[in-house]
Symmetry: C2
Subunit: 206 residues, 2 copies
Amino acid sequence: MAEKGLLVVISAPSGGGKGTIMKELFAQDDNLRLSVSATTRDPRPGEVDGTHYYFISREEFEALINQGKMLEHAEYVGNYYGTPRGPVEDWLVEGHDVLLEIEVQGGAQVKKLMPECVSIFVLPPSMKVLEERLRGRGTEGETTLQERLSTARQEILHVKDYDYIVFNDRLEDAVSDILAILRAEKLKYSRNTDSAERVLNNAETV
Amino acid sequence: MAEKGLLVVISAPSGGGKGTIMKELFAQDDNLRLSVSATTRDPRPGEVDGTHYYFISREEFEALINQGKMLEHAEYVGNYYGTPRGPVEDWLVEGHDVLLEIEVQGGAQVKKLMPECVSIFVLPPSMKVLEERLRGRGTEGETTLQERLSTARQEILHVKDYDYIVFNDRLEDAVSDILAILRAEKLKYSRNTDSAERVLNNAETV
């Protein structure tokens, strides 16, 4: 029997290097699946339905909300974005760990709906480092950069709603931290309440 | 500033291979310290005070209990055994993780007194494997062996009082499990409540 997987919420201020961490995480853990968001916005050139997003209509999206089939959702610039519950739950039942890469508001919604989820906030070592990283990209004007830093400051105040804090100082440490969290979470007694019974009854335990 | 270390309680039924796990754990983690118990029994040949046990008098032991300076204690065959609080707290303040290898009753006492401790129960994969391991030693008669198995069955029922369950199937997996638990525990928000403030104030975080 496959053990049920973990639902893992990861949030981080933009510019924190979250993308690189995710890439490395999936390279090292082949049991992990990335949740695909749904949106009502139009696909951009090259975007594939079911890979980058599930592209659905406003009516479909609102129906999913009303049926309780969205784990979290938000509206930005007139479009809905959210996490459909179905694919996530299917993967969990199959024993996969499922990663949700979402904003702090979404993270709070998921924690409320599925309190057994594991939530991780990836913090930059300092605002100074975050600023250097954003400048290093060289892709943004000063106004956009200041806006990003201001948003990051607001987001960082939400760390208190998360189970774990990972500092994104060295990439390999941050990835190892997250893998250790997943490994430890699976060993919690609360996720192994039948363990004594299985040992005493000589059932297969490992 | 040194971060405060973790207090780690490990319990396991005897014959579960706990000794081998401990040895490997200390080989791989040089920040870990093993708590030394105090006892009122006489030293056996070769036993060193402060290394194998703190050998103290009955009066001294009872004074420590009455002053709340024992993390846990029990009486066996007319002698006291227990964990003195002082050396443990000194190590924790210095930033060392401190491991207490104790019985289930002691484990419950420590959890009550220091709820922030991390408690781990090491389970054999099955009673059958535990029996095979005990027989494999070839050091005990059938009566002693049956008594040990009976005690183990009682002890295993206490897993529900522990934070984590580690199966002692393959030694290297069990050791990695425990190291992952220690790593993850240090990343808990509850142990890093000042993290947002430190990032926002550009303090040293890592």
